[in-house]
Structure formats: C-alpha cells, structure tokens
C-alpha cells in the first residue's frame, strides 16, 4: 500500500531524497513532466501547455527528525531536533540512523540513578543520547556521519475500526492524496508540488510556486487533532473521524475566502462530511504559495492526525477518503466549467 511505503520512508527537512525517489517512481508514467528543482522540490505536471486554470496540489515531503550533531568517545550519538519535536516523546524509542539505517535506541539515565529533582521533570534533549551499540567513537563513525538524521521505526498499521497508525502522516498523507489525485483525467494543467523543508519554515513552497505559476493551489496536509482525553472540547483544533478539515485562518494564511466557501458548499452537495479547522495557530505551505508574485488563490484541506510530530500518529481512513473525494469533486467541477467554456 502506497501510504504505508510513504510513511515508512525517511525524509528529514533537506534530506527528502528517499521520499522523493519513491514519489517519482510512482508518478513518472502518469505525468507529462517531472523535475526536481534546486531546493529539492519534486514538481510533476500534467498537460503543461493546455488551456484553462493552472491548478497546483501541494504536499510536503519532509518530516520532523533528529539530526546527529556529535559522537561521544563511548560511541553514543548526540542529536538535536529538526523541526518541532517534544523531547518528552523521545525516551526509549527505537530509531534508525542515516543512510545505512543503523538501528539504535534513544537512551537516558535509568530511573534508579536519577536524583529526586531529576525525576520531577522530563529529560531535556541534551540529556538524551542515541545508543547504536557502538563501543567507541571510531566504531560509531564507521556507521554514522554527523549531519545524518535519526528516524522513528514505526510500522504502518491499520488499527481499530478504520484507523491508521504510522509515523510522518504529517505530511505523507498529503503526498499520497496528491499522487492519487494527479491521476485524475483533466484537460487543464494539473501540477503536484511535493515540497521540501516545510517543517523548518515553509521553505520549499515559495520557490516551487514561483516556477509553477499556478492560478489556484490546494494544499493537502496532515494537521493536529487534539480530541484526546483530558482536553476541553473547545480546545480541539480538529476531531478525528469528523471528516477532512478546511482552514479559514492559521498563523500564515487566510485561504481565499470564495474558494473556501465553494469547498464547503461542494462538500455539502456531495454529502462529504467536513469540519472547520478550529485553531488559528500553525502554518502550512499555503502561506508561501498565497504570497507568491502577485498572489495566488489557496485553500488548505487537511486530514486530522492525533499525536503529530511524535513517533506515531493516528488518523481515520474515512477522513482521508473524504479529503480525496472533496478534491476529486472540485477538480471534476473545474473540468465541467472548462468544458462549458
């Protein structure tokens, strides 16, 4: 299954090669052009010179990860997060490190050796080390290079009644949606931009948009769901199982209101359950895309994912299928509009 392969591939910000290769192989036969740009964005184009609106689907390939920044004399690896990672989720997790996928474990001082004060607070990143079983610095250096990244080893799995657990659903679920949607039969130019370095500041999206020059862009995301025990309902940004969410505002964008309205109306007509993303924080590639040149119409459609930016997140297959149907219906509508012109 494609989503399984996508989430199990590793791609830290700036090191998206493995994910990019996978997507390229998947798409090559279905598009007219496919290229990698200077920042590493993968841009796949159908009907490049056809008349009609240039529609861009955007999803980022990178995931938050841990970069190796030092090797201790006893063979342990020091690391720092790339993108937002809560240090409290790291202790005792399995990882693989770098190009050789060297297996390791995030180690910490055992509880019986911790001072009482240390037990009261979570470990800081500085107190955690990756143990790859090496005895010396030299042994570790043969396996791992500084600047390589460590990734969680979470396997994709279907759980419960229609839920999926996997790592990096933010934003491999968006990549998977874009790959599927690019296979739609449309007459206008349809472009998918698989962007890099979103997690460290939306860096790939701006340059990708500058090249694509879209009239309209749909950003496909995995976004935070906080519908977990112990939280007030009014603080839930999104709810898993309540359908894909549509953004009305976040920290970096106010998606084009007429397009947002059209998507809500379309969902209603097609009987697709959707929800408003109920949080003004967070940012997606839409921020950069909207601001490109003289401005681009954008909307963000996201699949709610619990526990994002951690070793494992959970999403609902129905929400994911809802997102697919919504965008597919929108492309169909654009196609009908083109045909009647």
């Amino acid at each position: 299954m494609l989503l399984a392969r996508l989430t199990e591939a590793n791609g830290a910000p700036g090191q998206e090669g493995e994910v990019r290769d996978l997507i390229r192989a998947e798409l090559e036969a279905h598009v007219d052009e496919i290229k990698t740009d200077a920042l590493g964005n993968l841009i796949a184009i159908k009907n490049p010179d056809a008349p009609g609106p240039r529609v861009m689907l955007a999803a980022h390939m990178d995931e938050v990860a841990l970069m190796i920044v030092g090797i201790e004399s006893n063979g342990y690896l020091k690391f720092r997060p790339i993108g937002g990672v809560d240090p409290r989720v790291l202790v005792a997790k399995s990882v693989v490190v770098g190009a050789k996928k060297v297996p390791g474990v995030i180690g910490s001082k055992p509880i019986h050796l911790q001072k009482p004060a240390e037990r009261e607070r979570p470990f800081t990143i500085q107190e955690l080390l990756i143990d790859i079983g090496a005895k010396t610095k030299e042994e570790a250096e043969r396996l791992v290079k500084l600047g390589e990244c460590a990734y969680f080893t979470t396997k994709y799995e279907e759980i419960g009644n229609g839920k999926i657990k996997a790592k990096a659903l933010d934003d491999r679920v968006g990549c998977e949606l874009a790959i599927r949607l690019l296979q739609e039969d449309v007459s206008f130019p349809l472009i998918a931009a698989f962007t890099v370095q979103e997690e460290v500041g939306l860096r790939g999206a701006g340059v990708a948009t500058y090249q694509v020059k879209p009239d309209l862009a749909l950003v496909l995301e995995g976004t935070t769901a906080s519908d977990v025990p112990g939280t007030d309902e009014h603080k839930h940004a999104t709810t898993v199982g309540a359908g894909p969410c549509i953004t009305v505002i976040d920290r970096v964008s106010i998606p084009y209101p007429p397009l947002v309205q059209e998507l809500f109306a379309l969902a209603d007509e097609e009987g697709i359950k959707v929800q408003v993303r109920r949080n003004t924080a967070g940012g997606t590639d839409a921020g950069r895309i909207q601001m490109s040149e003289e401005g681009v119409k954008v909307a963000t459609i996201a699949v709610p994912c619990r526990y994002i930016h951690s070793p494992v997140s959970v999403m609902s297959k129905d929400d994911y299928e809802g997102a697919y149907k919504l965008v597919k219906s929108y492309l169909k509508r654009l196609q009908e509009r083109e045909a009647s012109n």
């Binding site: 009305v248 505002i249 106010i254 408003v276 401005g295």
Partner: protein, 331 residues
C-alpha cells in the same frame, strides 16, 4: 473629512474579509481616479496618472482590522474564538463583537485571575439559549470585529479600526484633492496587513513602484505613565525613521521632512520600537524599493477606542498631496 473617517471606521473588515471597506472606498473615489483594480489578496488599487517625466509612487493604507474567528459553539450556545491579528486580551473582556452575518455578542471570561487570562478562557455570549439557536446566527469559522461607534470629541476622534481606516481616509481625501499630478500615483488599499503585511507584498510585486509610502497609525507617548515615545497627538504628521519592519530610506525620510518644512506642514519624527507597516513589505519587493511612511499618531492602538487628532490627519493629507507633485529625480 470626519464623515469619511466615521463611515470607514464603522465598516466591517477583519483581515481577509475587507470587501465592505473596499466597496465603500470605491464609491468614494471612483470619480477621481483613472483606473481601479483588485487582486487575489483583496487589495483595491486606484491609479492616478502623472506626467511623462514623473515616477511611480505607491501609497499603501490597509483596509483590514484586527478581529476574531469563531472556533467552537457549546451546547448552551456560547462561542469560543481565536484571534485575527494582534488582539490584546485586556481589551476584550466586556467588549462587544459583531460577526459577518450580523450577529452581535458580548465577550466575557471564565472565573479566574486576570493574571492568568488567556484567549481560550474567554467566550462570546450572543444571547442564544442553545447550540441550535446559536447556529442560526453564526457558524464556526465566521469572522467578527469589535462592535463600536465613532465618536467626535472636537479635534479628537475615537473609533475602532482607526488602524488603519484613518490612513485610508487620508488617501481618499488626498485623491480628491490632487489634480494632474507630476508622478503616477498608485493608491493601494491593502488587505491582510494585520496578519503579516500580506496585501502590500503582492501589490508591490505587480506595481514595481519607484517609491513606496505607507499611511498607517503609529503609537504615542503622551498619556499618563505611558511608555516613552516622542510622538504626541496634535503635533502633526509623523515621519517614520524606523519600526520593526522597516528602516525608512534616508533620502525618503529627508524628502518628507523638507517637503513638510517647505509647505509648513506640522510634523514630528517617529521612532517606533515594535510594530510594522506595509512599507516593510514594499521595500523588500523584487530588487528593493526606496520606502518610508507617513504615520497618523494614534492612542490606544488595537483597542476598540483608538484616538486620533483631526489636525494630524489633515497634516498627513497635505504631505501626501505635496509628495504627489514632487520631483523625485533624487530618489
């Protein structure tokens, strides 16, 4: 001029939803411009053509105001909300809100100390007795603004959204005054300034001006125990030296000062510690644009009761009018 300010400040226009304001401005300036345009971000762009040897000046005043967005409706019909732009918590409790669909409500807080007040402890009461009743009046995702009327206190005026409808009023008034300018003037009524100077950036990209000037409010230091700032109400147009988004181009700043001296327009220098304006976005466009700002001194910025002095507003209009005809060969 006061009527223009009243009409503009009482209009509805949170970031992203500026149409009511741009339509109002359109009706005010239609007869006085050569071209009118709009773009994806929601900017209104009015052009007044100049002579052959003139340059392109982009004046920017933003149409959007800070506001709120509904994030949740509970079973009893109370709303929770998020911020649109830099909304100060201390200005919210007891305040009133008006939504895009017309619903009005009061903001209040859960029990607890003022010190620990955060946005998610506040709620809006629109008088609904159930979720169903509330849903008939507002939707989750709907934007709202402070609900306040304009007050004329003589020289001083109070209103919500003086930031930056008073800047829009300056441009409207200048547009009406200027006839056959030397320079070609782009009066851009920008969208989405309060959420990150967004409209000005895309507008400037299309216009490629030779000179960029923002018309926006700035803070003052002339209130009791105020944070020190050498700008006062009633002392004239404020010529910007810097803020956190821009260091005014020295030649632009000097040109504005010499114009004010020459035309005997009251002015003061503005050094703003925190806060930005559209000029911050304009000056970094493409290969760079020499930019500055003419600011309207304003007390209580980002509250529902922003106060300006009409004499300062008029000084700003005079400075814009003077600049329209100025030879910009030296810039």
């Amino acid at each position: 001029m006061k009527t223009i300010i009243q009409q503009l400040t009482e209009a509805f226009g949170p970031s992203g939803f500026e149409t009511e304001v741009t339509e109002l401005i359109k009706s005010m300036i239609e007869e006085h411009v050569d071209e009118l345009g709009a773009d994806v971000l929601g900017n209104l762009i009015a052009v007044k053509k100049g002579s052959q040897d003139g340059k392109k000046i982009m004046f920017a005043a933003h149409t959007d105001e800070i506001g709120l967005v509904v994030t949740h409706i509970d079973d009893k019909g109370f709303l929770r909300f998020g911020n649109v732009g830099g909304v100060g918590i201390s200005t919210l409790v007891g305040n009133r809100v008006r939504f895009a669909g017309g619903a009005v409500g009061a903001i209040y807080q859960e029990k607890g100390s003022w010190k620990d007040l955060t946005l998610d402890k506040l709620y809006i009461d629109i008088g609904a007795e159930s979720k169903e009743e509330a849903l008939k009046k507002v939707k989750v995702g709907e934007f709202g603004i402070f609900h306040r009327e304009f007050e004329d206190l003589g020289n001083r005026l109070i209103a919500k959204s003086m930031d930056d409808r008073v800047g829009c009023a300056v441009l409207v008034e200048a547009l009406k005054t200027i006839k056959n300018p030397k320079n070609t003037l782009y009066f851009v009524f920008t969208a989405q300034e309060e959420v990150g100077l967004r409209g000005a950036r895309t507008a400037a990209y299309g216009i490629e001006p030779d000179l960029g000037i923002a018309l926006d409010v700035t803070l003052t230091g002339d209130m009791p125990e105020a944070r020190r700032m050498d700008v006062s109400l009633g002392k004239g147009a404020a010529i910007k030296v810097k803020d956190s988004s821009l260091i005014a181009h020295p030649k632009v700043k000097d040109l504005l000062v010499s114009l004010a001296e020459e035309k005997q327009i009251p002015y003061q220098m503005e050094v703003l510690d925190a806060g930005g304006t559209d000029a911050g976005a304009i000056h970094l466009t493409k290969a760079g644009v020499p930019s500055g700002a003419i600011s309207i001194p304003t007390r209580y910025v980002h509250s529902p009761s922003e106060m300006v002095d009409i004499r300062d507003v008029k000084a700003c209009v005079d400075l814009v009018v003077a600049l329209a005809d100025k030879d910009l060969a030296a810039i």
